[in-house]
């Protein structure tokens, strides 16, 4: 990987680590919410993780579109790296959401539209990773996963719009105290930086793995008269 990009990745890890320390301090200092108590502080992990999860899915979608357009392996590597980060973040979102739901609603899970489509999203991108590792040929693997990734992106707007269009126990939006908003913004930036660093790390590993597997350009069409 390009040395400047590697330096950017390392800087992102350091910045993300420092910001994470700041987040923990901020979450500890921010006032406790009146109705839900200390469990509400999961909000500062859940919301940034959910936002970054959707952004990672967008990254996978763009990587897959790029591959279908140019047929270069770098796009496939970016799509896979984004999918891996999306799956990791989806686990964080689901687990933090379930714990928060247990305190807020009294049960671990409910089949509300937002939760259902979020679980479907986690399954879709987990299947993406399984598919990527299940096909041996690099060209076929990249093409198949690109088509699958484009189709899987359908669920992302469903997750985002579900609370706006359908009745849902999951809140569509909340009004927060300015101190809570500032803490949320700090946590959002932290999770974004850490997600970006993780994506760059996975891209670096993917490029190393595919080094030498650069897919050859499509063979030129030869007319029958040229064949002896």
């Amino acid at each position: 990987m390009n040395p400047p990009l590697r330096q950017i990745e390392h800087a992102a890890w350091v910045l993300g680590g420092l910001a994470a320390i700041g987040c923990v301090a901020a979450v500890h200092l921010v006032p406790v919410e009146a109705t839900m108590g200390p469990a509400q502080k999961l909000f500062y992990l859940h919301v940034p993780a959910a936002t970054c999860m959707l952004l990672a899915c967008v990254g996978t979608f763009l990587g897959d579109l790029g591959y279908l357009w140019q047929r270069r392996s770098i796009w496939s590597v970016v799509a896979l790296a984004s999918a891996e980060v999306a799956v990791g973040l989806s686990a964080v979102v689901l687990i933090s959401g379930m714990v928060w739901g247990r305190f807020a609603w009294g049960h671990w899970w409910t089949w509300s539209p937002r939760l259902t489509f979020s679980l479907v999203l986690a399954l879709l991108y987990s299947a993406y990773l399984i598919l990527y590792r299940g096909i041996a040929s690099p060209r076929k693997r990249a093409l198949f996963c690109a088509i699958y990734g484009v189709a899987a992106f359908v669920d992302v707007p469903l997750v985002y719009l579900s609370t706006k269009l359908l009745p849902d126990i999951h809140p569509a939006g909340v009004t927060v105290d300015p101190r809570m908003r500032a803490t949320l913004m700090l946590c959002m930036i932290t999770v974004m930086v850490l997600s970006l660093a993780a994506t760059m790390l996975r891209v670096r590993h993917g490029l190393r793995r595919t080094q030498g597997e650069e897919l050859p350009p499509e063979p030129e069409q030869t007319s029958v008269t040229q064949v002896r």
């Binding site: 479907v120 399954l123 879709l124 076929k140 093409l143 198949f144 699958y148 189709a151 899987a152 359908v154």
Partner: protein, 223 residues
């Protein structure tokens, strides 16, 4: 030959081969009936009754399993004796082969789902007339969307890219939104509460999956 003619030729060829291949479709139907039998033994009586006597949403487990098995059966038609090479070389319009395969999968799925629903009517003690009416009104739209997805990704089976055990992992998560909407529509149809919006959402999913399938089928076959 125009695209429509090729689609029809492709579909009739595959259906003829499936009917002549001993036990292909029968295997799928028998598995569906076995699943219904297990469901009727495992579930409480209240869970086997859909609203208004219609087929219960739990039947979708059987529909999904027979669907995946049906996709594997139809994909095997082109895998044997390298018939896939003829498909790759034919000069027909790119989407024509896809629509031909889609037609075959829809027929196989509808036939298998009918067998499953009939078994459910008998074993679950459902209202026959109401179940049949709901089945005819609702299920073909849902099965069309499922067949559209399955036809696209079974191209991977046909071309040898995908192993058969991966087909379920690929198709099922993509089909989940469609299945969720279908279950809702099935329940609402039974109680007479189905709306134009419910049917519209299902049609939108079908159109989307068919459009993606028609565009992406040929590159997957040629990969």
């Amino acid at each position: 030959m125009n695209a429509l003619g090729f689609t029809w030729l492709c579909a009739t060829k595959d259906l003829r081969i499936l009917l002549r291949t001993r036990g292909s479709i029968a295997r799928v139907c028998v598995l569906g009936v076995m699943i219904v039998m297990v469901l009727s033994l495992a579930l409480k009586p209240s869970a086997t009754e859909g609203s208004g006597g219609s087929p219960p949403p739990a039947l979708w487990l059987a529909y999904v399993v027979v669907a995946v098995l049906g996709f594997e059966c139809t994909a095997r038609v082109d895998r044997e004796e390298r018939a896939i090479d003829a498909l790759r070389l034919c000069p027909a319009a790119p989407g024509a082969a896809y629509f031909g395969k889609l037609l075959v999968n829809v027929v196989v799925l509808c036939f298998s789902a009918a067998a499953v629903t009939l078994a459910a009517m008998l074993l679950f003690g459902l209202d026959t007339a109401r179940s049949a009416a709901v089945f005819v009104r609702v299920l073909p739209l849902s099965l069309l969307g499922l067949a559209a997805l399955g036809t696209l990704f079974s191209a991977g089976l046909t071309s040898g890219t995908l192993r058969s055990e991966l087909l379920t992992i690929v198709v099922l998560p993509l089909a989940l939104p469609l299945i969720i909407v279908s279950m809702r529509l099935l329940e609402r149809s039974g109680s007479g509460a189905a709306t134009q919006q419910d049917v519209g959402i299902l049609i939108a999913f079908d159109v989307m999956y068919i459009a993606v399938g028609a565009m992406a089928y040929q590159p997957l076959i040629e990969a």
